[in-house]
């Protein structure tokens, strides 16, 4: 399969435009909401901010042309997870303190900051977004094969679905079973025999 770069050139926009103001503000928004989620003393406030964090992430995924992932993040991360968390804290009690924020554990912040620095030091090693010399595009045996042949072989315009449901259908089958098992496990843990009754 001599696919990859030449054919990909037509499929993937290859210009690297740097970071746009919208992306930058989304990054700031995601970082801010992530930190606030940890800092808020009130769990309800944390959950609301966490939903905003998920929404920001979903927008970022969409900006980086992963609409499938963005949709999942919006539906599961911002939507259903928030509902489940709200449902959970509705069954708890609220501590009677007026403090708005958690007391910050500065040694922990220092260690986290060090960790971020170490991980951040690897960032320059990554290729720029859309860089044609990036390994995922330059040596794209697998990616290139899917993008070049998915439509002819499966008739699916969405190559992501072609990979999920056809090329990697066995993995998806396992994931579907995991979701089913999660439902059964929740019943077992809660000691119930029915979902709704």
């Amino acid at each position: 399969m001599s696919v990859a770069a030449p054919q990909l050139a037509g499929l993937v926009p290859l210009q690297s435009v740097g970071i746009t103001p919208i992306e930058a503000s989304l990054f700031v928004f995601v970082l801010l909401t992530a930190v606030l989620t940890a800092l808020f003393r009130d769990v309800l406030a944390s959950i609301v901010v966490f939903a905003a964090y998920s929404l920001g992430l979903a927008l970022l995924y969409t900006f980086y042309r992963a609409p499938d992932v963005g949709l999942t993040e919006a539906a599961i991360g911002a939507g259903v997870t928030t509902v489940f968390l709200l449902l959970t804290i509705a069954k708890t009690t609220r501590p009677a303190t007026d403090a708005r924020f958690e007391a910050v554990n500065w040694p922990a912040v220092g260690i986290c900051g060090l960790f971020v620095l170490v991980v951040g030091a690897t960032l320059p090693a990554f290729p720029a977004v859309g860089d044609p010399a990036a390994p995922i595009l330059a040596n794209a045996d697998v990616t290139g094969y899917y993008l070049a042949n998915a439509y002819d072989e499966t008739g699916a315009e969405n190559a992501v679905t072609a990979v999920l449901a056809a090329y990697r259908g066995f993995d998806t089958f396992g994931e579907a079973i995991v979701v089913f098992a999660a439902g059964i496990a929740s019943l077992l843990v809660l000691g119930r025999e029915v979902f709704t009754a």
Partner: protein
């Protein structure tokens, strides 16, 4: 019931300020949800059915379809939604999804192909349905996305929601009379304000009354 248990364990916990109401009736939320759910349901079905040709698929679409039920429950009360949505529907959705997915995956093996080998249907059904070989992959994927993943995800998410709402209890008698008396319309209450407050819920009742949540309704399972 569950809050009885929780509060019973920490009767002297001074840090406990107040119980959050699990459901309080809101005209704004009910109106908004009424207006929004037809579009969310349509969008969920669209995403499910167009998974092969546009972003999305059974997982995202199934989550959106389940979120319709979640929104209805938040607007109109979990307990009334629980009675409206039968347990059979939730269980059938989830198990039928697994059965359809497994069936579509296993039949090709009986036809001499591999697991999930959609093209194995072609020699058998190709002439009957008038489809080309690659079209069997497309329709096989769509069948798996719609009849498999969307069914499982929507069923399990709905089920998880009601299981979490009910909490760690065994199903018991639901006090709907007290609920009607409290004019909450729908949801029954672990919240004792609407019930004949037993001894175990008395201190909780004091908290709730102090918080002024007269129409508050928790859940009672």
């Amino acid at each position: 019931m569950s809050s009885d248990r929780l509060n019973g364990e920490t009767p002297s916990d001074t840090r406990v300020a107040r119980q959050r109401p699990l459901y309080s009736e809101s005209q704004v939320i009910m109106t908004t949800v009424k207006a929004v759910i037809p579009f969310v349901l349509t969008y969920g079905l669209f995403i499910t059915f167009h998974g092969t040709s546009s972003p999305g698929g059974g997982f995202q679409g199934g989550a959106l379809i389940a979120s319709v039920v979640l929104m209805i429950a938040f607007a109109f009360g979990i307990e009334s939604t629980r009675t409206w949505l039968s347990n059979t529907l939730v269980v059938v959705l989830a198990t039928l999804g697994v059965a359809i997915f497994a069936g579509i995956a296993l039949v090709p093996m009986a036809l001499g192909g591999n697991f999930l080998d959609y093209t194995a249907y072609y020699p058998v059904l190709g002439d009957v349905l008038g489809l080309k070989e690659y079209e069997f992959v497309k329709y096989g994927m769509e069948a798996v996305e719609i009849g498999g993943i969307a069914f499982i995800v929507s069923g399990v998410l709905m089920g998880l929601f009601f299981a979490l709402a009910a909490g760690m209890t065994t199903p018991s008698s639901t006090d709907t009379d007290a609920d009607t008396a409290a004019d909450t319309g729908a949801d029954t209450a672990s919240d004792p304000s609407g019930e004949t407050a037993g001894d175990d819920t008395a201190d909780d009742a004091a908290d709730t009354a102090a918080a002024g949540n007269d129409d508050q309704a928790g859940e009672n399972e």
